[in-house]
């Protein structure tokens, strides 16, 4: 294993967690909207963008839980699901992000 690579990787990985925490705040806002029964196309598109991003990056940074939950959320938002299902999928992703940041 290349130790210089690992050192740099760890630094970038920490910054990824910070970014994920920022996106967590946005996701919490979307949960409130979904809980209120709202799921307009603009919100769904933004949720999908965040989920898609975290799905790919989460795995690259060795956070399998974030990657998997983000993938589930992306699948959920792609389909005509009820806002309550979207809220649940958002909550699962938020929990994984907070676990990674703890």
């Amino acid at each position: 294993m290349n130790s210089m690579f690992e050192l740099k990787f760890e630094g970038i990985r920490r910054r990824f967690v910070e970014r994920a925490m920022d996106q967590c705040a946005a996701l919490e806002g979307f949960v409130s909207a979904f809980d209120a029964g709202e799921s307009d196309p603009v919100t769904r598109r933004e949720v999908r963008r965040i989920a898609h991003s975290l799905s790919g990056a989460g795995g690259t940074f060795r956070f399998a839980g974030i990657s998997s939950s983000a993938g589930d959320l992306e699948d959920c938002v792609r389909r005509p699901r009820e806002p309550s299902a979207l809220a649940e999928a958002c909550r699962a992703l938020i929990a994984e992000i907070k676990r990674a940041a703890a």
Binding site: F5, K8, S53, G56, F61
Partner: protein, 123 residues
């Protein structure tokens, strides 16, 4: 063989990890750009041997960037590899039909990215 690789992604942490991953191969020179437009400009100036393109980017997404590169004689023949999360087989087929050389799915393994890129360029 020396290789110049341009990596275009709007997410800073992914750009950085791709850079250090590709630089594990001492014969790969890497440049990174944060948008499709900046990627096109860099490709015209630097003429890389391969371009790795994120699909979902704001303003100019990966497929649009590919079309712009293909329309320009200076960049037309540079192999473009899409890098995207959770690509479904129908999407991969669409990307190949657009002119992409191949698709690497995120999450990618940072330890083997350089090998994956070389393998796809050689194919």
């Amino acid at each position: 063989m020396r290789l110049k690789v341009l990596y275009v992604d709007d997410e800073a942490d992914i750009r950085e990890v791709a850079m250090i991953a590709l630089e594990l191969d001492p014969d790969i020179e890497v440049r990174i750009e944060s948008s499709g437009a900046a990627g096109v400009a860099a490709a015209l100036k630097w003429l890389p041997d391969a371009i790795l393109l994120d699909v979902m980017m704001p303003l100019m997404d990966g497929p649009t960037t590919l079309l712009v590169l293909k329309e320009n004689p200076a960049t037309h023949s540079i192999p473009v590899i899409f890098v995207t999360a959770r690509a479904q087989s129908i999407e991969i087929e669409q990307f190949i039909n657009l002119g992409a050389r191949d698709v690497i799915t995120k999450p990618f393994n940072a330890m083997t990215l350089a090998v994956e890129v070389r393998r796809r360029i050689a194919a």
